[in-house]
């Protein structure tokens, strides 16, 4: 009996083309689009600014500065100012009047935030100072003055050795996007599951099954298994997109540092959580249209709060605290543990337990509501 119920559920989902699109195509596309779109935003090692240099000085010094900027790697020197983030103007007689400190003029595009401007100023300053130091060095050599014993360096790599603390490491765009949209996609079972369930309620098939001695537990459990399988297929397809498809678009591939067992445990717990919420909506909503609307809004809200739309590490502290109420946030944290912090099953046990508990509670509430509804003739 149970096998027939599970098979029926599979057939109903697999014949719903729109549901399949929402479950598989949508999250895969999101992973691809968001990984590529946020690639530079997440790149920590290398920020390059698009600039235009207008040289009104036309001196050896101004040419040396432009050459230095070109070689720095932090600047893309453009010809036309339309696409530039910064326009740097070297004023006339800049070199000649240098002793009086004539400022370089910098025109900043309106959309540039202050933190980016600070980074730009620091990178530009390093180049300006490097030229001045070289100038002073040459001057000292020319005057046969003694050279300082310690070599002066402005190279970040020589001056700083940067390493990330493991627990605070920041993901690449792919590492952020893949778990985000896996979690979001998994919760999208809310749409097909609630629609099928409500149709069964409305068309009296649930009543008919109840009249055939099919228990409430069988009705609900038979829905859980197909969606767990669908969720697992989703997870591995999305991981495949992150590992194999995203790199084709010049974006870092997904790197899984943690264990496969942890992925299975976490995704299973996420399934239970998503299915519990879907069942609760399915038994509570009065129509398929209502379930689709509420389900869609609920998914987006949980995603927005939980760090799917906007990464949690760039949220203000208060929002980061608020994000903890969303089960999507627990799932996302778990995946980031696995991908970035070499997480194993023990490391994601806490998140998995919370997700499992959330799913269990929502399923129990759903069964109580369904029991009441069936006893009232649905």
């Amino acid at each position: 009996m149970f096998g027939a119920m599970v098979k029926k559920e599979f057939l109903l989902v697999l014949r719903d083309k729109h549901a399949l699109m929402a479950l598989f195509v949508m999250p895969a596309l999101f992973i691809l689009i968001m990984s590529v779109a946020l690639r530079d935003k997440f790149a920590q090692e290398h920020i390059a600014f698009d600039i235009v240099v207008i040289d009104k000085d036309n001196s050896a010094y101004s040419k040396a500065l432009q050459e230095k900027l070109q070689k720095d790697g932090s600047f893309h020197l453009l010809k036309k100012p339309q696409n530039a983030q910064f326009v740097v103007t070297i004023p006339k007689d800049y070199y000649a009047l240098m002793k009086k400190r004539v400022a370089l003029k910098i025109l900043v595009k309106a959309s540039i935030k202050s933190d980016l401007l600070e980074i730009f100023k620091s990178k530009l300053l390093r180049n300006v100072v490097a030229i001045e130091v070289k100038e002073m060095d040459d001057e000292m050599k020319r005057l046969s003055l003694p050279q300082p014993a310690k070599k002066l360096s402005l190279d970040y790599k020589e001056l700083f050795e940067i390493s990330y603390e493991k627990s605070n490491s920041i993901p690449t765009s792919t590492q952020q996007s893949v778990p985000s949209w896996i979690v979001f996609g998994m919760f999208f079972v809310i749409i097909p599951m609630s629609t099928i369930f409500i149709n069964e309620r409305k068309q009296n098939t649930l009543t008919r099954l109840s009249s055939m001695n099919v228990s409430l537990i069988s009705m609900v459990l038979s829905k859980i298994i197909p969606y767990i399988v669908i969720n697992q297929i989703q997870v591995w397809i999305m991981l495949g997109v992150g590992i194999f498809i995203v790199p084709l678009f010049d974006t870092p591939a997904l790197v899984i540092n943690g264990s496969i067992g942890a992925i299975v445990l976490l995704s299973f717990a996420l399934s239970i959580s998503a299915i519990g919420l879907s069942t609760l909506l399915a038994v509570s909503a009065s129509s398929a249209e209502q379930a689709t609307t509420i389900g869609g809004i609920l998914n987006i809200l949980l995603g927005a709060i939980g760090g799917v739309m906007v990464p949690k590490f760039i949220m203000p502290q208060s929002m980061q605290t608020l994000s903890q109420i969303s089960p999507m946030s627990w799932g996302l944290d778990g995946f980031l543990d696995i991908f970035m912090r070499s997480g194993d099953a023990a490391m994601v046990f806490g998140e998995s337990a919370m997700l499992f508990l959330f799913g269990l509670i929502t399923l129990i509430i759903s069964m109580i509501i369904l029991h009441i509804r069936i006893n009232r003739g649905l």
Binding site: A4, K8, N204, N375
Partner: protein, 305 residues
Amino acid sequence: MKRQRSIKKCSNSTENSQVITIRSLNKSYGDFKALKNLSLEIKEGSVFGLLGVNGAGKTTLLSILNGLIDFDDGEVIVGGYDLKSQKKEVKSISSIIPQHLAFYEALSVRENLDFFASVQKSSKESLQKAIEINRLQELLSHKASTLSGGQKRRLNIAIGLLNDPKIIYFDEPTVGIDPRSRGEILDSIKSYRDMGITVVYTSHYMNEIEYICDEVAIIDKGRLIKQERLENLLSNKLSDSVLIESVADEKLAHLGLNLLERNLIQTDKSRLCDVLALLEKEKIYIKQIRYGASDLEHYFLEVTE
């Protein structure tokens, strides 16, 4: 493999050929009393009509008899089983054909039948019988959503036959279908009686009740108003009335006759010859004439508020 049925039946089982016995049944939804002290007996192998206006309590009664909802107090014995303590056994010997088409539109006819048969552990013979009785052989591979209204109704009924029920409850099974399919369904229901199955039938179409039922009960506001064999009920209302059932003909509407339905003419004995002459002149053929009987619809309207 056929389901093993419990042999622990109540002592007052079907000795007096009552397959359903209801005594002092009460059911409330909050403050609303859906059934009030209702008592009823239904004979084994009969086609029993359950009549009542919307909200009279018919659906509540059917839901209780199917074990779908609990009742407050009273006693209900179905097929010899006490409904309160042997709900599972009651469900296994009965089947409800809901008014709404309770199957999966996205599945084929075969998939639907296989699914509901598996759920009830029905035998292959029962499955085959349900297919044949409802003439679904040619439609097995068709997706349920592509069937016509009548074919859908037949599938809906076939699913209800899969557990070899002793009692079948039909909840307005002919709503929204064409006359031919309706006639076929009514004939098939009559054939269930010949197979020894008890049929409990609710409908708003009084002529259907008259056509297929042996006995009727009229329920109003949760109370039993009348339970009687159909012929007794109608003969109690003997009058000068004559009912003439003709073949359907558009001309009927323009002859100035008292039409109860499209092809059902009511007249009194004194005018019968004139009406028959008129029908002959118009070449409208007569199917049957019933003397001295009132129709059920008029009786129903009289006894219900």
